[in-house]
């Protein structure tokens, strides 16, 4: 997967083996881009949540539902494999 920034917009582009497993291209909004970047860089949901808390200053309880919904969406679309979650 490649996260591209084009004219300030963010696109997830499926490359190599990811093609056919998830949509070829998806446009992300700002929150989606932020969550995707954090998840990729941190590797686990727990670490991503900790970092999101640090970056936003929001409590875990308010961040968790949104992040879980996002992860569920990624899994449903094929962007996230079970072992990645």
């Amino acid at each position: 997967m490649v996260l591209l920034e084009v004219c300030g917009e963010h696109l997830l582009v499926a490359t190599g083996e990811a093609r056919g497993r998830c949509p070829d291209i998806t446009q992300l909004n700002d929150a989606g881009t932020q969550y995707w970047t954090i998840l990729c860089e941190e590797g686990t949901l727990r670490a991503a949540l900790d970092r999101a808390q640090k970056e936003t200053g929001s409590p875990v309880q308010s961040l968790l539902p949104g992040l879980l919904r996002y992860v569920a969406k990624l899994r449903e679309s094929g962007y996230l494999l079970e072992e990645d979650a």
Partner: protein, 247 residues
């Protein structure tokens, strides 16, 4: 340089696509006919272009039962982009046309009426309209500018194309009950524009090069023409793009 896994194919010809000399290696000799206008003996090509065994094996699309030569010709679209992307070029899905002397791309998913718009434009404005490529032109990025070139994939109508030029802008088509035109922001245009690149990104760098191409394209005006596919919609398209002076 090699753009595939086959090293020995049944036929080899030299062609030039978007100014780039290529050594085209073919599994089916009949495929060469599709590239005849682009054949250039002694082109001094050092880039190999061919459909790989994986490409043939992976092809389960509607053309997979087509005669071998036509299947190879069709698979050469993505194979060409794989080669061309290393040289700042890529195959794109749309009608490339000169309107009032400037090159425009009319793009949309298949079956949305690109060819219909071209036919109306030609009928209405005759010599002020000239086709560059009817279906899959080649785009070339030179710094921040984009150039449009004809290609061996003119579409099923096989209208003859002509010389390309610097891209002046893009028109995205959408079928509608009423004809309206509006200028799109980069946010609105990026996804519909990006999905019409004809390439299969195996490597991250290929996707990034397409991103750079899209970035250059989005510096140009992008219009959305919601249209009925009628004469009035072609007039609206022509008047919009020819009256827009600033690039």
């Amino acid at each position: 340089m090699s753009c595939g896994l086959f090293s020995q194919m049944k036929m080899k010809i030299e062609i030039k696509l978007a100014g780039l000399p290529l050594r085209l290696r073919l599994e089916h000799a009949e495929t060469a006919a599709y590239f005849e206008p682009y054949t250039l003996p002694d082109a001094d090509a050092d880039v190999d272009l061919y459909v790989t065994a994986e490409d043939f094996a992976r092809d389960g699309g509607p053309l997979s039962d087509a005669p071998g030569a036509f299947q190879e010709y069709s698979l050469l679209v993505a194979a060409s982009s794989r080669c061309l992307l290393r040289h700042g070029r890529v195959v794109y899905h749309g009608v490339a046309v000169k309107l009032g002397g400037r090159a425009w791309l009319i793009t949309a998913p298949s079956g949305t009426g690109k060819t219909t718009q071209y036919k109306w434009l030609k009928t209405l404005y005759r010599e002020k309209v000239s086709l560059i490529c009817g279906d899959k032109p080649i785009l070339e990025r030179r710094g921040e500018r984009v150039y449009v070139h004809p290609s061996p994939w003119p579409g099923k109508e096989r209208f003859p194309g002509g010389p390309g030029g610097a891209l002046a802008g893009i028109v995205l088509l959408e079928q509608a009950q009423e004809n309206t035109v509006s200028r799109l922001t980069a946010r609105e245009a990026v996804f519909p524009l990006f999905r019409e690149f004809l390439y299969v990104p195996e490597m991250e760098e290929e996707a990034r090069e397409v991103g750079r191409m899209a970035e250059a394209m989005l510096r140009l005006p992008v219009w959305k023409l919601r249209n009925r596919g009628d004469e009035a919609s072609a007039r609206l398209l022509y008047e919009t793009v020819t009256e827009y002076e600033t690039i």
